[in-house]
């Protein structure tokens, strides 16, 4: 970390626009690997503590015990330009932390759902979540060594996806492959947004 800008004059500095993309999927599917493959630094980890007041807000009715839970999120940064910064957040793998997802998903430009064909059902909750929220997403099948290769249309059928949702193969360890996933997501998110604007204009 350097503090090289300490001579910067005080006052209004134009701050860049920040946008975020989520990387979701089951436990151990390679979310942090993908974040690390494209980020300019190794993934950082941030923690959110669910406190007693958080329990009330998130309405976990039926939860009798007052507990404090720590949820860790790994994230990375890609500086696109002086006025645009992209953040990638790996969502917590545990289903019971939906409330963190809500905060994460708020304002997210789109999501990558990572899938492992050996445990395809692990990504169902993520797909349901983003479908329900209307967050544009793509499904990237992380090709683990030793897993049987399926055709993309087989995966699409198995996940019962809307035909418009892009499905692609990837290797989350590879920068180029992970970049391609993000580009596909951004193109899909742009198309989705245009379609929604047209639909809104037609009404």
């Amino acid at each position: 970390m350097d503090y090289g800008h300490s001579d910067r004059p005080a006052g209004a500095t134009p701050l860049p626009t920040a946008i975020k993309i989520l990387v979701a999927g089951g436990f151990g599917v390679g979310k942090t690997t993908m974040v690390g493959a494209v980020s300019e630094t190794r993934p950082l980890r941030t923690e959110e503590v669910l406190t007693e007041s958080g329990v009330g807000i998130d309405d976990l009715s039926g939860v009798e015990e007052k507990t404090t839970t720590t949820v860790a999120m790994d994230f990375g940064r890609i500086t696109i330009s002086d006025d645009l910064v992209l953040y990638l957040f790996g969502t917590p793998g545990q289903d019971r932390f939906w409330f963190v997802w809500d905060e994460l998903a708020l304002g997210a430009i789109g999501a990558v759902v990572l899938a492992d064909t050996r445990r395809l059902a692990d990504c169902f909750p993520s797909i349901d979540y983003f479908e329900g929220r209307g967050t544009p997403f793509v499904v990237a099948v992380n090709c683990f060594e030793g897993s049987r290769q399926y055709r993309l249309d087989e995966v699409q059928a198995a996940l019962n996806l809307d035909p418009g949702v892009p499905v692609l193969l990837c290797d989350a360890r590879q920068r180029e492959s992970s970049k391609e996933v993000l580009v596909t997501l951004m193109e899909h998110a742009m198309k989705t947004r245009e379609a929604r604007r047209r639909a809104a204009g037609a009404n």
Partner: protein, 128 residues
Amino acid sequence: MTVQGESADHQWVDDHAGPVVRPYAMTRGRARPVTGTFDLISLVTATRADVAPEVGIGPEHLAIVGLCQRIQSVAEIAAHLDLPVGTIRVLLGDLAARSLVQVREPQTTAGLPDNSIFEAVINGLRAL
């Protein structure tokens, strides 16, 4: 320092021992910032190179000002200072109330005027 006669397996040292000061104490028991909402990707920059210690400004506040000589997101501040995001939000609220930091909340997708941000991100990713 090692205590004689105690097995190393039973000692809690460094990170395992937990923080010396609990995050709750750093915020003096406050769970919400005095001002601002501070999204994880809200960008923060210090408005001054240096801040003189004063009542209500602790070492963690000063650490944030030091870190934010370069633009940082709320999530990055939390990660670098190894503190929960909720704690960082409260500390940032104190700094924002004193105009010691400048904050830019992120834009929502719906609020984007056109496709230029999408196109910039796509081109930027391809150029990586």
